[in-house]
Subunit: 121 residues, 2 copies
DNA sequence: ATTGTTGCAAACCATTTGCATACGT
DNA sequence: ACGTATGCAAATGGTTTGCAACAAT
């Protein structure tokens, strides 16, 4: 694993959940880590090949990555003011496993986003 | 619903399962239906807005569409072979409302995708 | 010296948009 | 005549690739 690939892993750790290649890049550059976008894409490709990260897609089709086995949370965002809170995903995780099991699926993961109107709006 | 939108629906019926915009276009043109790719994209966008079609993504990120029922549901997709089943969303809907309520949110909606490994893979 | 790593710029490809033409009422 | 629908060509945006400079063994 090359040096920059290691740096990408640690950036993903810092990001905490899902992040796109471009977001990883911004995060690293903002923290003074000089690296090219191309290198990030190549590092993420390697990490995929080695099953170190999972690849998912956002609604627009953009690829997002996260370290395998990492716990994650979801966001509940207000459509009006943009206020966002993190919510635990224990319940949905359990539910997903149950439902998936009914269809014979294993190793079940998910992406989810919640949005509504907050109390102040 | 415009005339070309109707033609796109019938092409999707003919396609039978999932098809990308480009595939729908080829299918129509091959069968003598003169239509531009742009119009297909616009028709599919309308059909999405009216919940007539489902949008999913192939591994490369390419959008694929299929006709669907009107009920709100989610997809459980195999990471290896791409097999996809629709799952009811009653449970997650209820759960989302409960959790959101704890934070004072109203009118809660969500997006969710589930993925895993199916029994044959 | 050889091999692998990096990053800029250009290429790629699915999708979207600007705009001028053609259609429906 | 008016608003809408259409499609070509150009723009967009995420991702990949060609290539030359660079580092490591």
């Amino acid at each position: 694993m090359s040096k920059s690939t290691t740096r990408v892993v640690s950036a993903l750790k810092r990001a905490g959940g899902f992040a796109s290649a471009q977001e990883v890049h911004q995060l690293m550059v903002r923290q003074g880590d000089r690296i090219g976008l191309t290198t990030i894409y190549r590092a993420l490709q390697n990490l995929l090949d080695e099953n170190v990260v999972d690849l998912l897609r956002r609604d627009g089709g953009e690829a997002i990555y996260r370290l395998c086995g990492e716990e994650h949370h979801h966001h509940l965002r207000c459509k009006r003011c943009g206020k966002t809170v993190e919510i635990s995903d224990r319940a949905i995780e359990k539910w997903a496993r149950e439902v998936a099991g009914e269809y014979g699926f294993r190793d079940v993961g998910h992406t989810a986003e919640f949005f509504g109107t907050c109390s102040e709006c």
